[in-house]
């Protein structure tokens, strides 16, 4: 009998089946890797285990040491000895390591008068850190002065403070924020825990880590387990294929950009580095082309919109629009050049408190303003026309924007910028959190804009279907630069995943500062 067993877990969100009949077993002293593409259900499974989500009725049972765990009961899970390190470590910045360790563990020991016995506490913290092999951490240091790996170590130390009680440790992409050379230290810590009989669930995007660390691997795809075996029984290529979806999908592009070569180059990144993730990225996009950018988190894909919006400082290289170097990066600067960016994240697009109409027109109010008069009627007419053209439901311009569904909101944000008739359109995760029908609509608008208006479109997406569905070319990013270009038919789901995951040396990060 395994230490932790999850049986037939299903979870349905409104309009979407996130997990169906998923099982997972973790033995004592075993590292079990859980892999899968974005949206495959990994984090839903973790959140069910932690008690954050409740699974659908009829799921289960989940057992630890043969004792059944109750679903939706975070305290019970904690008491049973399961600990979680989430991607967001949840450290309290500005407090010391000692204080952060105490955060999870109840009270400080006090002398009469409620005076904290700092000396005892400090001694205690030092001893516990040493137990985990973390002697280099000093209890009095502020956590916001620590590097990424030390922060992760503090979070692990906090999760493990009553270390005798800990049976299972769940690490959710713990290396996403870590530079490569630091990953080894984290692995050493995990191995020490495993040596003490702790079972580890290791969620990661990086296949090389799976092979370095894990004993078993389970692949999730679209909410079901498509593979589960000892790591030794698979090779990297098989694993990538399993994550991507096995069969090679036939690309269904509306138009192959046969004449793309002759079109104007509208957007070009020439050796662009940012202070963040890009390290000498080179690519260009021509009029009428839809170019997909694919890559894991940290690969640099998301620094492309960030650099254009002025949120990541360009440290080297040049961004050109229409052949001329861009001098002022930032939303208004690039808008003047006809470049529009639809950023990821609802809170960065939704102007709650304004109506759907006002959200649609905010990027360009010029057409309604003449002779010192704002033509509200003209604005309403255009809003209604946009609602109709983009199929936004319900077609009520005066509805508060926050009352629209995610998909319809996203259409509003795409329409907001498309109505400014941009020459270049960059979309960051445009279908994230959008239902299937809405996604298809949005992708159709993007394709039409390129085909009919000659817009140069850049699609930064972690959704393979999006990339395969509409892109003429897909650029795979690794380590802050374009690692491979997949043109037309060559851009299959399998090829994209392989290029993104199969880094020979892994992503080459600059040393953490």
């Amino acid at each position: 009998m395994a230490l932790l067993e999850l049986h037939s877990i299903s979870k349905t969100f409104p309009g979407q089946r996130a997990l169906s009949g998923v099982g997972l077993e973790v033995g004592a002293g075993e590292v079990h890797a859980l892999v899968g593409h974005n949206g495959s259900g990994k984090s839903t499974l973790i959140k069910i285990l932690s008690g954050f989500h409740e699974p659908d009725p009829g799921s289960g049972p989940a057992t630890l040491d043969g004792r059944e765990l109750r679903f939706g009961d975070p305290d019970g899970v904690q008491a049973a000895g399961i600990r979680f390190i989430h991607q967001d470590l949840g450290l309290a910045d500005g407090l010391s390591i000692l204080d952060n360790l105490k955060l999870g563990s109840g009270l400080y020991r006090t002398a009469p008068g409620w005076r904290i016995r700092w000396r005892d506490e400090r001694e205690d913290a030092r001893r516990r850190l040493a137990e985990l092999g973390l002697e280099h951490l000093h209890p009095d240091d502020d956590v916001n002065r620590l590097g990424a790996v030390e922060r992760t170590e503090v979070a692990i130390a906090r999760a493990l403070q009553d270390s005798d009680a800990v049976r299972v440790l769940v690490l959710d992409e713990p290396t996403a924020a870590l530079p490569d050379e630091e990953v080894g230290r984290l692995f050493a810590l995990v191995r020490r825990l495993v040596g003490r009989g702790v079972g580890v669930v290791y969620v990661s995007h990086r296949l090389e880590e799976v092979f370095d660390l894990a004993d078993r691997v389970t692949v999730l795809r679209e909410g079901t387990v498509v593979h589960s075996s000892p790591v030794a029984a698979v090779d990297r290529r098989t694993l990538a294929r399993l994550i991507a979806g096995g069969e090679i999908s036939a690309p269904q592009r509306a138009v192959a950009a046969a004449d793309a070569e002759t079109r104007d180059e509208l957007l070009a990144f020439a050796g662009v580095s940012t202070d963040n993730e890009l390290h000498g990225a080179d690519f260009s996009v021509r009029a009428g082309e839809v170019v997909g950018l694919a890559g894991l988190s940290g690969s640099g894909v998301h620094d492309v919109p960030r650099a254009l919006l002025g949120d990541a400082a360009v440290s080297a290289g040049e961004i050109r629009v229409g052949g001329a170097a861009v001098r002022t990066l930032g939303p208004t600067g690039i808008a003047a050049l006809g470049v529009a960016v639809v950023p990821a994240g609802n809170h960065r697009k939704r102007i709650a408190g304004l109506s759907v109409r006002e959200n649609l027109t905010i990027s360009d109010l010029g057409p309604f303003w003449s002779a010192a008069h704002f033509h509200h009627r003209g604005e309403r007419a255009e809003a209604r026309e946009l609602l109709d053209r983009f199929g936004i439901l319900p077609p009520e311009p005066e509805r508060p924007i926050e009352l629209l569904s995610g998909g319809n909101q996203q259409k509003v944000y795409v329409a907001r910028l498309l109505r400014t008739a941009p020459r270049v359109l960059i979309l960051e995760e445009p279908t994230q959190g959008v239902d299937v029908g809405g996604s298809a609509d949005i992708l159709r608008f993007i394709g039409e804009a390129a085909r009919e208006s000659g817009v140069a479109v850049v699609l930064c997406s972690s959704d393979l279907e999006d990339l395969v569905g509409v892109c003429h070319r897909v650029l795979a990013f690794r380590g802050g630069k374009v690692a491979a270009e997949l043109v037309g038919e060559a851009a299959t789901r399998e090829a994209i995943v392989e290029e993104c995951y199969l880094a020979e040396g892994g992503p080459t990060h600059a040393a953490a500062s």
């Binding site: 809170h347 960065r348 102007i351 408190g353 304004l354 008069h373 704002f374 009352l403 995610g406």
Partner: protein, 336 residues
């Protein structure tokens, strides 16, 4: 009344509430404030038919609110843009002291327009100072203006040397606050003009829309191409110049400068602005709502005083109005 029991919408979940019901609620919401004003007016008119509903009393009540109105109208711009400005009391004080001191030190020789322009200029500069700290250094507007407001009061006390300034204030200056062309006190005309200008900007210009967008979600508006930094500069400079104008009006009407006048206008200005945001255009700081909010507070206090209720009622009534306004806004938000 919005229902508290309704569950709040999760991110990305489709809305279910039927639009018809919400529109009805909005109609009641929009005019509950004005209706309350009318009812209150009628009640006081019935209680004190000889003193309350007279032309003289009502004009006096309105005239008494003109300084508050100028401050509050200016405050509307930063509030609509989503930032607090609580330095307006300090700017008002500085303006009172500066304008009277300019006359006193020049034995009343400095031309009135020069004094007015110089004082308004200082108000703009004070707003610019706030805006630089908020925009460039990304400091919380509340903290910035709490500090700067106190600094402005300190500077006022320094240059006034702790004394009341009342010498050599020319009549040409004080008349501007005391004239009654066509029987209407001049201050009411100033308030009317400012209200019309701001109402026009808010409702009839793209700038007004951009101010509201900045207040609704600064980051999303910035990414959508709204020059949010410039909007914030404009907002603080507008509230600064309006507070300076209110200070000038105070100096004109009183004919003297005391270094501790500004504080009394802060609370009623906020109370009126927040009360106003619950009516006419609920959820949005708006000019007409503000004027009605101001009227509710002023008439409420006047009516209570005429009925012999003591003066401690004033701050209580103002504070209660502010809290009530915020509570109403909150309930409305929860009902969504």
């Amino acid at each position: 009344m919005p229902q508290l029991a309704e569950p709040t919408l999760a991110e990305g979940e489709p809305a279910k509430s039927p639009p018809a019901r919400r529109n009805q609620a909005t109609l009641i919401e929009r005019f509950a404030g004005p209706a309350f004003l009318v009812v209150m007016f009628l009640v006081f008119a019935a209680l004190q038919p000889d003193t309350f509903p007279t032309y003289n009393n009502l004009i006096a009540v309105a005239n008494n609110q003109t300084i508050t109105a100028l401050v509050a109208l200016g405050l509307l711009v930063p509030l609509a843009a989503g930032v607090f400005d609580i330095s307006i009391g300090g700017i008002l004080t500085l303006s009172v002291i500066l304008s009277t001191l300019l006359f006193q030190t020049t034995d009343g020789d400095m031309p009135v327009p020069v004094v007015i322009l110089a004082t308004l200029g200082v108000g703009i500069a004070a707003g610019l100072f706030n805006a630089i700290l908020v925009v460039r250094l990304r400091i919380e507007p509340f903290i910035v203006t709490l500090g700067s407001g106190s600094v402005f009061i300190g500077i006022s006390q320094l240059i006034a040397n702790g004394k009341v300034i009342s010498e050599h204030i020319p009549q040409g200056f004080t008349d501007l606050g005391r004239d009654e062309p066509l029987g209407i006190p001049a201050p009411l005309i100033y308030v009317g003009v400012l209200a019309l200008i701001l109402g026009y900007v808010f409702v009839m210009t793209p700038l007004g829309r951009k101010i509201y967008a900045t207040g609704a979600n600064r980051e999303a508006s910035r990414l959508a191409g709204v020059p949010t930094d410039r909007i914030l500069y404009l907002a603080f400079m507008t509230s600064g110049v309006c507070a300076a104008a209110a200070g000038l009006l105070y100096a004109m009407r009183i004919g003297a400068g005391q270094p501790e006048v500004g504080g009394q206008y802060l609370l009623p200005a906020y109370a009126a602005a927040f009360l106003g945001s619950t009516m006419i255009r609920p959820g949005r700081f708006n000019v007409l709502g503000l004027l009605i909010g101001l009227a509710i507070i002023a008439i409420g206090i006047n009516g209570l005083q005429l009925n012999g209720i003591p003066s401690w009622v004033i701050p209580t009534f103002q504070g209660a109005a502010l809290i009530l306004a915020v509570v109403l806004t909150k309930l409305r938000g929860l009902g969504r």
